[in-house]
């Protein structure tokens, strides 16, 4: 059955391998150059504030002289798309096409049981889907390491939106999460194919459900996977530093917790009540430069006893979050695989 599964799967596998090799080739050719640019910058061995300048200098040099920042964005897009592509083109037809063309009547009357047929098909194709996505993610993580380190040193550049390892896109494309998404998307495609019994509608439904889940999980599920930490920050230094956005008075970093995931934040007054706007007295006349907050905003707010309350997940929980989320998606994948077995039971076909 393994050989027969391969016989039916070899064209798709060939396409995927070709895509992987092309991706790998591009990264292998450009990766060392990107790393040499990084080494040539003064980030290595930098101290304090000079790091931010060196990192930003490196990023803008990369942006100006190479297509690497574009590749950085496209690579992320590819890793995000890989699970749903395999779910649609490998998962959805896996059972639906057999039912649609009637070849299931040929396959299931050979000398192997239907259960074995399904186990091998799901396992082989599913593991291939997981391997492809994770390979993309690992290659990309290796290639993008200089850019990620520069960003980690505080470097910023307008063409890359990077919101830390917990950022929506970064979290979904790094670590082991892509494995879970790939397994889920593949079994989702297979199960919808088995339920709808037609390939094209199953593809559309797979795409819709997967997209909905990919939106719903980071927004409504992921923040609750572990109880968050809370901290209250006071003092003019916090309000003055670049650690909050003035318009909304929300924190952008947590002091002492670099790259933490901020779930919610806002100023509270001395009584602990939320403050929605800065006191008018503190805002004063708009600064002449037109940029940033009035110089005295922080001191003014601090003197009125206003502090910033922040609910966040520290960076140290990155891997627990990755493991829990991957575990959830793998469990969903198993449940969907079980749904395929149930649907193909001889009482229901």
């Amino acid at each position: 059955m393994i050989r027969f599964t391969w016989l039916q799967f070899r064209v798709q596998a060939g396409v995927a391998l070709a895509a992987l090799f092309a991706f790998a080739a591009v990264l292998m050719v450009t990766g060392p150059h990107l790393a040499s640019l990084y080494n040539a910058s003064r980030i290595t061995g930098c101290r304090g504030g000079s790091c931010v300048n060196a990192a930003s200098g490196f990023l803008s040099r990369v942006d100006a002289t190479s297509p690497y920042t574009l590749m950085y964005t496209l690579g992320i897009g590819l890793i995000l798309a890989a699970p749903v592509i395999t779910g649609i083109f490998w998962g959805a037809p896996l059972i639906a096409r057999e039912l649609e063309t009637g070849t299931c009547r040929l396959a299931w009357t050979q000398g192997i049981t239907r259960t074995r047929w399904l186990v091998v098909k799901l396992a082989l194709t599913g593991l291939a889907a997981m391997a492809v996505t994770e390979a993309l993610s690992l290659m990309y993580t290796w290639w993008a390491d200089p850019i990620a380190r520069a960003i980690g040193h505080g470097g910023t550049i307008s063409s890359i939106q990077f919101t830390g390892p917990f950022g929506l896109v970064a979290f979904a494309t790094h670590g082991i999460a892509p494995l879970g998404y790939a397994a889920f998307a593949f079994t989702l495609g297979t199960a919808t194919g088995a339920l709808i019994r037609r390939t094209v509608p199953a593809m559309a439904v797979t795409l819709a459900i997967f997209a909905a889940v990919q939106v719903a999980v980071p927004l409504w599920v992921r923040p609750h996977l572990l109880p968050p930490d809370q901290t209250v920050v006071s003092g003019p230094s916090f309000f003055q530093a670049a650690s909050m956005s003035v318009g909304t008075l929300t924190a952008t970093t947590v002091p002492g917790q670099p790259e933490a995931w901020i779930l919610s934040s806002g100023p509270i007054n001395a009584a602990g009540q939320p403050v929605t706007t800065a006191p008018a007295a503190c805002l004063g006349p708009p600064p002449a430069t037109g940029k940033g907050a009035p110089a005295n905003l922080g001191a003014c707010m601090a003197s009125r006893g206003i502090r910033e309350a922040i609910t966040y997940q520290p960076l140290s929980r990155y891997w627990p979050f990755q493991r829990i989320e991957t575990g959830i998606f793998l469990a969903l994948a198993l449940a969907l695989a079980g749904c395929c077995f149930w649907r193909l039971g001889r009482r229901r076909t």
Partner: protein, 298 residues
């Protein structure tokens, strides 16, 4: 006597609809059995139950004395050619044979390859580009090269042109002669069945209307015509299968094991076609002996 298919109280329900209900039959082994019946009689459902593509909703079915699709060994004992002879359109003929070899422990490579050669099929040709007749032959090859004890075919020739149909059926006859396996096939075309089958089962609305050896069926059924008379006036040993009357004349199709001596009748033999149509159009639950007389009320 051993049986290829034995069923009792067999039923298969889809939602609220029963595709087959309370079906009882016993098809003997070592024969080429034709299963005929109108559309919707449950023939395909019965065959799918026999090869284990379906599980019964009620009752039981045994194939070669065992439960269908009950593990790889039982799957290997039964060869199946499904309706419209499905094959993988993108795989070549040779790859289909390789699939058969991989998936069937009892695969006989020699049978498969010599048959493909004999049929003049190009092993590299994709199955999707084969003609209907060639595809049916490929499906048949796959079903017999696994060396089954019985071969079940669901309308194998329904979509074939007359020439391809003849070729397919003569292939089937050759296989039966060479391998001596039991065969059960369904068809709408009684002429085809007459050519290959030595046993006939007529299934109407899940019920076996008649079953028996073809030669015996033909010799025990007669068409009687003569002056008009009522069916109840026939002797008890003549079972009326079909009757038609004009003002002056009556025609009966009767089943009897005894010769008909009544000089009032013109006795003619029946064809298999007559017989099948008579049983198919017979009410599902006929009164066997004393049918109520039709009375004209005015």
């Amino acid at each position: 006597m051993s049986f290829v298919i034995e069923a009792s109280g067999l039923g298969k329900q889809y939602g609220r609809r029963w595709a087959l209900r309370d079906c009882a039959l016993a098809i003997p082994a070592g024969r080429v059995v034709g299963l005929v019946g109108p559309n919707g009689a449950g023939k395909t459902t019965l065959l799918h139950l026999a090869v284990g593509l379906l599980a019964p909703t009620s009752g039981s079915i045994r194939v070669l004395g065992a439960s269908p699709a009950d593990g790889p060994a039982q799957l290997g004992r039964v060869g199946f050619v499904a309706q419209d002879t499905p094959v993988y359109t993108r795989l070549s003929v040779a790859r289909h044979l390789r699939m058969g070899a991989w998936l069937n422990p009892g695969w006989d490579r020699e049978i498969a390859e010599s048959r493909i050669e004999q049929l003049g099929l190009d092993p590299r040709q994709r199955a999707g580009t084969l003609s209907g007749g060639q595809r049916a032959q490929l499906a048949l090859t796959l079903a017999i090269a696994k060396r089954p004890e019985c071969l079940i075919l669901d309308e194998p020739v329904a979509s074939l042109d007359p020439l391809a149909r003849r070729d397919f059926l003569s292939s089937l006859m050759e296989i039966v002669a060479a391998q001596g396996l039991s065969v059960v096939l369904t068809s709408h075309l009684v002429a085809d069945l007459e050519r290959v089958c030595d046993y006939l089962v007529v299934l109407v609305a899940s019920k076996v209307q008649v079953a028996g050896e073809v030669s015996e069926l033909l010799s025990s059924h007669h068409r009687l015509s003569g002056a008009r008379r009522d069916a109840s006036s026939l002797p008890a040993n003549q079972e009326v299968i079909e009757e038609s009357h004009t003002d002056r004349q009556s025609t009966f199709l009767v089943r009897t094991s005894d010769p008909v001596h009544d000089p009032a009748w013109t006795v003619r033999p029946v064809t298999l076609d007559d017989l099948v149509i008579a049983y198919m159009s017979r009410p599902a639950n006929p009164e066997r002996t004393h049918r109520p007389q039709l009375k004209v009320t005015s």
